[in-house]
């Protein structure tokens, strides 16, 4: 099924206009006392949720905005969601 993404500026557009920016992992960890484990967790590790996740997108072939949406990875459909469902 083709993916559509709602850009906050351009509205609902074809998914192929966008670049996926990764799972929402919160702010970058502070550099003070940063261990390789914490850094690799932020850079590479994913939850790989089969369900709804909060994620970043970039409107590459459009306005260039970076924004987050909630999407169900099992149906590939955007989900309206006000609050975050992730643990971290």
């Amino acid at each position: 099924m083709a993916l559509t993404i709602s850009c906050p500026i351009c509205g609902k557009r074809n998914g192929y206009e966008f670049r996926y920016g990764g799972e929402d992992k919160g702010p970058k960890p502070a550099e003070k006392d940063l261990t390789p484990e914490k850094w690799v967790d932020y850079v590479h590790m994913n939850n790989c949720v089969a369900g709804v996740q909060k994620e970043w997108w970039f409107h590459r072939d459009g306005c260039g905005s970076w924004f987050t949406i909630h999407r169900d990875t099992v149906t590939n459909l955007e989900v309206e969601q006000e609050e975050d469902h992730e643990k971290a």
Binding site: M1, A2, L3, Y20, G22, N46, N47, A50, V74, T75
Partner: protein, 407 residues
């Protein structure tokens, strides 16, 4: 004709209360590991837990291509052994796996690609894998249907020819291994989903399923695209994986015209002709994680454009079937094979991306050895999950790809 259905791997067994080892995932990696556990290590009290039916995932969705021309010295020997095992298993299982070592032709479309191919070929030759660099005329001699003229988007400069590769009938491997494993005492539980993995004091104690609890001290997670989500959800261990959808399709059957596997990095296209005559062709993938296994018209168009350029005789041929499967991509395009580290008794075999089929035989062999004696086999050690925090990523990609958000 309409007799009662009797699977080759026996009737549906009763789920026992305990097993010596439990394997989550009835795909090729799980089946091969169970087969080798039973035949090489005498561990026959093994349960394979499969949520759907065996071969439902990547095992039945790949384009059946096998080859051993990977890029790094850690990967090549593993794939070489996997390739060498097809004829051995065909005999041993007494099951025709239909291994056709027709050879792989990897097209190169620029001088830079030729340079990259030279390095891959040197690595292969160093590891004793046959692989040569050929020019476009020699490629045309091998595949007369090839368009080597200059007037296509990516003209063909040459190719990497890897004669020992080819295609294997993937369903036959599923059925052959399932039959072989079941004959040796392995229980295959289809329609049985793992719901939890139990851990006590850092050790595996059991697996919970929707058909009951199982006690065991060894669990292998080899659930293909779902491995990362299972491991993260049930054990809280996050993996450097993005699960993407990769699409493939076949054309209507044609007279024989392709007697090699032909692939092209620049066109993002690979094709081989099945014994039925269909051109089985695969595409790139949608670069965002999803578990849909749905298909898009986008890739039919993409395949048609690519194929009609370098194999122009396919212009106007119709696509007949189209499907998709999950590819669990790691940032360095190499798998994660680990065990007895994060949790004692937990074995992880995932992150194969789209290389899971061609590697299943040797991986099964080494995981069986690992699970039997608890010693991390030397050949698997470079694939540890810890390589990411040690910043020892493997160089399986010649150039960064934008499959995931990681690069």
């Amino acid at each position: 004709m309409f007799d009662k259905f009797k699977p080759m791997w026996g009737k549906r067994p009763q789920l026992k209360k305990s097993y010596d080892a439990v394997i989550i995932g009835g795909g090729l990696h799980g089946l091969a590991t169970a087969y080798f556990l039973a035949t090489r290590h005498g561990i026959t009290d093994v349960a394979i837990i499969e949520k759907n039916y065996i071969g439902f995932g990547g095992a039945g969705r790949n384009t059946a291509i096998v080859r051993a021309n990977q890029r790094t010295q850690e990967n090549v020997p593993l794939y070489k052994e996997a390739l060498d095992l097809w004829p051995v298993l065909t005999k041993e299982l007494d099951y025709n796996l239909m291994f056709n070592n027709c050879g792989n032709l990897n097209l190169m479309h620029s001088e830079a690609a030729m340079k990259a191919a030279r390095m891959t070929i040197a690595s292969a030759q160093f590891q004793g894998v046959e692989s040569h660099l050929i020019d476009s005329k020699e490629a045309k001699d091998l595949v007369p249907a090839l368009n080597i003229s200059r007037d296509i988007t990516f003209p063909i400069h040459g190719a990497m020819f890897h004669p020992p590769g080819g295609v294997v009938r993937h369903d036959a491997v599923v059925w052959g291994l399932a039959e072989g494993a079941a004959k040796n005492g392995v229980q295959i539980h289809q329609q049985t989903a793992a719901t939890a993995i139990n851990v006590k004091k850092g050790k595996i104690t059991g697996v919970e399923t929707d058909r009951g609890k199982i006690k065991t001290n060894r669990v292998l997670v080899a659930a293909g695209g779902y491995s990362a989500s299972i491991i993260s959800e049930m054990l809280g261990i996050r993996l450097p994986i993005s699960v993407l959808n990769i699409q493939a399709m076949v054309t209507q059957p044609l007279k024989p015209l392709l007697n090699h596997v032909v692939s092209s990095g620049a066109y993002h296209c690979y094709a081989n002709q099945t014994l039925k005559g269909e051109i089985a062709t695969g595409a790139h993938m949608d670069p965002w994680p999803n578990y849909t296994t749905l298909t898009t018209a986008y890739y039919i168009k993409h395949q048609a454009e690519a194929l009609s350029q370098f194999l122009p005789c396919l212009k106007g041929v119709k696509m007949m079937r189209h499907w998709s499967g999950l590819a669990d991509m790691t940032p360095d395009m190499a798998p994660i094979m680990d065990g007895n580290d994060q949790v004692e008794g937990l074995f992880i075999d995932c992150g194969w991306g789209y290389f899971g089929f061609k590697s299943c035989t040797s991986t099964g062999k080494y995981f069986a050895q690992f699970m039997a004696d608890g010693e991390y086999p030397e050949i698997l050690k470079p694939f540890t999950l810890r390589r990411f925090e040690q910043h020892k990523l493997m160089g399986e990609t010649a150039a960064l790809v934008n499959y995931s958000a990681d690069n």
